[in-house]
């Protein structure tokens, strides 16, 4: 397991030292959400009604921005070949890189979301649920994203292709992420959002198991 944690630690160190990917994702998240009230006008009721959907969609798009780099830098500088000869199988390499992506992108985006919620007049009562649902839902974003990143590794300008492959896979996370929030604001707050959170957990766990297997299979083809 030393190898597994060493890889997570290296990726985190690179993410914070380079800063570009994280900065781009956070910046994009802020800009997209900030544009919404400007585009839709100052109707506070409308904004608070669509706030959860806007925040989730903006989060998915922001996370997508940094996904493309997940394996690309390692492929370009030859590290991927050496990673493939390591003491851990490629499945665990893909899992470690997905976890590092979640820690360096998913968590900062989820933590930033309530601040942007204020811009959209999101009901304060929904803030704890917003952060909880995003923290639970974003691992699926990273693990499923790894599959797309591995598949589009050698595609030139693969960014758009990556979005086309990955965004449909995010639909379940999006639906239950939003339903957790709307339940939190409804009459049966505790019961309704708990079931949504449990489904979000299930989606993330399934993605954590299947994502690395699929990503490793794609990486093996890319090594040819």
């Amino acid at each position: 397991m030393t190898a597994f944690f060493a890889l997570i630690k290296r990726d985190l160190r690179l993410a914070f030292r380079e800063g570009g990917a994280l900065g781009t994702a956070l910046g994009f998240f802020v800009v997209v959400v900030a544009l919404m009230p400007l585009g839709l006008g100052p109707d506070l009721k409308l904004l608070s009604r669509i706030a959860s959907g806007v925040l989730w969609i903006a989060l998915l798009l922001s996370a997508l921005l940094s996904l493309g780099r997940m394996f690309e830098t390692d492929y370009e500088d030859g590290s991927l070949d050496v990673l493939a000869t390591g003491a851990v199988p490629l499945e665990l390499v893909a899992a470690a890189k997905s976890i590092a992506h979640w820690l360096s992108t998913g968590i900062p985006l989820a933590v930033l979301a309530p601040i942007l919620g204020i811009l959209l007049n999101l009901d304060l009562a929904a803030f704890p649920m917003l952060v909880a649902a995003m923290l639970i839902g974003t691992p699926a974003v990273s693990f499923l994203g790894a599959v797309g990143a591995a598949l589009t590794l050698k595609a030139r300008r693969g960014g758009l292709l990556l979005a086309l492959i990955v965004l449909p896979l995010y639909i379940p996370t999006l639906i239950f992420g939003i339903s957790a929030l709307s339940a939190a604001l409804g009459p049966d707050a505790a019961g309704g959002s708990a079931s949504s959170l449990m489904i979000l957990t299930a989606i993330s766990l399934v993605a954590a198991v299947l994502g690395p297997v699929a990503a490793a299979a794609a990486l093996r083809i890319q090594l040819h």
Binding site: T2, R10, V82
Partner: protein, 207 residues
């Protein structure tokens, strides 16, 4: 320990690059792959590392560590250096030591590897600030920092000067004298002991 390749055929992009090749590399020997551009040196090395599928034939390791595959016992050095520009030379090496051996690196070994390739004074510099030759040496230092019995080197002397190439030859010789195996694809003649040459061009003409 020996690597045995029998009756290999390897296709790349629908073209048969290597056909009907057999060779054996016993412990303590270096196999030098030569041949013109496109002769299949990189293809063969990547097939030995199990990155490429074989169309026909087999490559196996005899009397190695039975619990690990050949590629888990091999160092691969490709055209790129596998050194992260934003990490220092020492950080890169410490990471690969941990990752490839799956145990915390011994400081002495990493330091000795840096020393051998003349990088001791550059250990704390980010790789981004190094010259091409220094980066190459930072990539090669991995060979000495982690103990693996098989070395697969693809044009290891790229961007190295004569003195640095000698450092590399010395490292390969020390490795084979200690019972290791090396397969080296190169254009330049290297001062290697107990080396056998396999010219992939001749193979093609014969076929």
């Amino acid at each position: 320990m020996q690597i045995i390749a029998e009756n290999l055929a390897i296709d790349r992009g629908g073209r048969t690059v290597i056909d009907g090749l057999s060779f054996t590399v016993p412990s303590g020997e270096t196999l030098v792959l030569s041949g013109s551009n496109g002769a299949g040196k990189t293809t063969l090395l990547r097939a030995v590392a199990a990155f490429l599928p074989l169309t026909r034939g087999s490559i196996r390791l005899e009397d190695g560590d039975g619990e690990k595959s050949l590629s888990e016992q091999a160092h691969v050095v490709g055209h790129a250096n596998a050194a992260k520009a934003n990490l220092t030379v020492a950080e890169n090496l410490a990471f690969w030591s941990r990752f490839l051996a799956s145990k915390p690196p011994s400081g002495g070994r990493v330091a000795a590897a840096l020393e051998h390739f003349g990088l001791a004074g550059l250990a704390d510099f980010p790789v981004a600030f190094l010259s091409a030759g220094q980066r190459r040496r930072a990539g090669l230092a991995r060979l000495l920092a982690v103990d693996r019995p098989i070395w697969l080197l693809d044009e290891p002397t790229a961007s190295l000067d004569a003195a640095s190439s000698d450092l590399l030859s010395r490292a390969v010789n020390l490795h084979t004298h200690a019972g290791g195996i090396a397969i080296v694809a190169t254009h330049l003649p290297l001062a290697l002991d107990r080396a056998r040459e396999l010219n992939l061009d001749k193979l093609r003409h014969a076929a």
